[in-house]
Amino acid sequence: MSQQILRKLRLTSQILFFALFIFLLLKSEFRGSFKAVQGDIRLPYPVSIFLEADPLAAVASALSSHALYRGLLWSLVILIPTFFLGRFFCGWVCPLGSLNHFFGSLKSEKKRGRQRLDSNRYRPWQKLKYYILAALLASALFGSLLVGLMDPIALTVRSLALGVLPGLNYAFNSVLDALYGTQVAPLRFAADAAHFLSKDILLSFKQPYFRQGVLLALVFAAILILNLRITRFWCRALCPLGALLGAASRWSILGLEKRRESCTDCNRCELDCQGGDDPVPGPPWRKAECHLCFNCVGECPEAGIRFRLFPPRSETVERPELQRRRLVAGIATGTALLPILRSTPGFAAARDPRLIRPPGALDEGSFLARCIRCGQCMRVCPNNALQPTWLEAGLEGMWSPVLVPRIGYCEPTCVLCSQVCPTGAIWEITQSEKLGQSKDGGDGNPIRIGTAFYDRGRCLPWAMARECIVCEEWCPTSPKAIYLLPAEAVDSSGQTRPVRQPYVDPEKCIGCGACEYACPVQDQPAIYVTSIGETRSKVNQFVLSRERPER
């Protein structure tokens, strides 16, 4: 059969794109290099290209921000061919689609014989994804990019980067430790070899830790396991990107022709149907559901079906056939969601003081209009400082980035998170802008992400008559935002001890959190950063003037 080759091509494409996806995901960990750099230290690969080529991210962020950020123009490479050909992205490119495809092809008790055919029939619940899409796009139109929670690319990057890969890294290290622990020479040699081969690509430089990692991994596992019941349940029923591409293929010219005269009703075309789009004789073929996997034409022994341009219309349902009332309900849900989410105190009136956003992050409203929660910023952060939020940014901001100085501080010369952000929620900045070196742009003021405060009851020179000053040592601004004044503290024996007690100058503090990170009071540090004074906000301020200090 001439169309047999198509499924082989499709499989090749899936493998290549999946490999590329994983390669770029691995390369989105910061590795550094031996090449000395004066200016911005950057990643060598375009690691966010899958996210930038994602039409849903582009459409939704265009709705919410009325613009298209940087590389999101790449999404047209997917969207425009979809107009002509249909959902080729789902079947040929999408990494989550390929994973679902693989898990859907595993043997399963729930998909044997008749049940397997039945499970691949078109079901009206497949329309659910269109209503989900309608709700998400409506909320985007009103300024919130909730779409990121369900966008398949963002979801896959987030789940793998924050949930799965850190776990694998831990497991890998445990095996290495066990091998090294044996004191058996060949095993230790094997461990050395494995370590050498994997240390620059597979193994993380340092074990990454992420809040929510377990939850993210579990959600991802659930999506994959659903395939054992219904092949590509996620893609058929839930995926908003699939829905968008299905809607976009309304006028596409590639379609399935059913030739009744050659068909023997063997139903083999339905055995491995990915989309649940009814390639079988009888019901019409559903264009918006088809992933163009070409399994049906590959299986057909009689040339009873084949793909061709401009197929006869009578056998095709070209539209998703949505029910107007449900569509309206979807839009209404998305529309109503935002006012409710934003009329909680957490959004403006009483924001969580520890909601420290990465440098370059836009004002909270604009930020939530752009952040798709892909987790790229968190993966690239060399200090593991950026973590997914739970409810610190409200339900609306779930899994968006927050800086947790106790885990890691923000290196003042580092701009990696702003390099990888695909949507401009963290606007691309340069090192000079961040440091406030006005020569190369910026207004001469450094980008502040918060301000440090002392908890004098826990601070060694303040409360316990001991020298310390580690916070001052680490303070990266010049002149230092932490200054020391000599004082005399009395210890328990009544002796006077000279100490230097630290203070914060809010005019100079940039909120990087190096002091909090380095504070030797390990469990609950004696200096901590809150978001007050962050450059991105007009209202989250407290000192009257914050001029750039004299140099």
Binding site: G32, A36, Q38, I41, F205, K206, C468, K480, Q522
Partner: protein
């Protein structure tokens, strides 16, 4: 048991009971064995691989050499020659660890890390003297991957023929340093096993000790929560100096971070002195540099006094054999 048990069944019964008995005995044995093994978990017993990397003193040679020059590389050779030449310190086939300060995400101009050209020149000298392996490493303060790249040291040292080792999570060993304050602490393994160690700190301001020089550079061999050590910094520094007795110390004062140390960040904090202070007496070298750039007498640097009491060197700069080479000389 019923009457109709036949022979075959009886055999089955016996063998089943024997099998279960064996399983029970094995389980009990395993349980008792595991109970015998039960110990309260304790910290890993630390070894104490105390080792001096020094060379024998030579009364005909100076203990401290100070020189000035435009080129940092040439400057290295200018101070090493009067000290007896590199062959006095490095013999062919030896493994040498060079310990610059590679601590902060700063460029060479900002003078928070050792000058990469100086590091490279020291590596080259060691190679010329026939060292089998020259390792350049430091346990960074800021994120190591960024620091090694930004400081320019990784590139310079590697192209000069050194093996550059980034401190990751692996490779630390619990060691008893045998100090008053500093007892058991994780030490980065490359510092434990070499034949020779060359310390190349950069001279910087520090709020707690006035200046951070050669002895303070040994913080960079430690892992763990080393921030706690600041509470007793003077005793800790003396402990470290007692543990790490370097072959040679070369204080980089080409650019000196005169204030806002040890991180700096502004070129306004940097003074250009184009100087190196090198020698075999780590105490005298620190005392000299503190006096030269911050006008700090050794009374103000308590750790030097403690080190002197422990016979690690001398703070009496009048008595230390010092050779100062002015610009254009040598």
């Amino acid at each position: 048991m019923t009457k109709d048990v036949n022979l075959q069944n009886r055999r089955e019964v016996v063998s089943r009971l024997l099998g279960l008995g064996a399983l029970g005995a094995a389980t009990a044995g395993l349980g008792i064995w595991l109970r015998e093994r039960s110990r309260k978990p304790e910290r890993v017993a630390a070894g104490s691989p105390h080792k001096s990397f020094t060379v024998p003193p030579d009364p005909s040679l100076p203990e401290v050499v100070v020189a000035r020059a435009e080129d940092p590389g040439a400057l290295v050779r200018k101070v090493i020659d009067p000290l007896g030449g590199i062959r006095r310190f490095i013999s062919p086939g030896e493994t040498v660890v060079v310990k610059p300060n590679i601590a902060w995400d700063r460029t060479p101009e900002q003078a928070a890390n050792t000058n990469p050209q100086i590091v490279a020149e020291v590596v080259r000298l060691c190679r010329e003297a026939g060292a089998a392996k020259v390792i350049v490493t430091d346990v960074s303060t800021n994120e190591a991957r960024r620091v090694y790249q930004r400081s320019g040291i990784a590139e310079a040292a590697r192209s000069a023929g050194a093996e550059v080792i980034l401190p990751g999570e692996r490779g630390f060993r619990e060691v008893n340093l045998g100090g008053d304050i500093l007892t058991t602490w994780p030490v980065f393994e490359p510092f434990l096993t070499p034949d020779r160690v060359i310390n190349i700190p950069i001279a910087k301001h520090h709020s707690l000790t006035g200046a951070t020089l050669g002895m303070k550079n040994w913080y960079g061999i430690l892992g763990g929560q080393r921030h706690r050590l600041h509470q007793r910094i003077h005793e800790t520094l003396a402990d470290l100096a007692q543990f790490m007795r370097p072959t040679l110390t070369i204080i980089d004062a080409y650019r000196v971070l005169i204030r806002n140390g040890p991180v700096g960040g502004s070129l306004g904090d940097v003074e250009l002195h184009k100087t190196i202070i090198a020698g075999t007496d780590p105490v005298a070298l620190d005392a000299y540099a503190a006096k030269a750039f911050w006008d700090l007498d050794s009374d103000r640097l308590r750790y030097l006094r403690i080190a002197e009491q422990r016979h690690l060197g001398s703070t009496d700069l009048q008595k230390v054999r010092t050779k100062v080479i002015e610009d254009g000389q040598g």
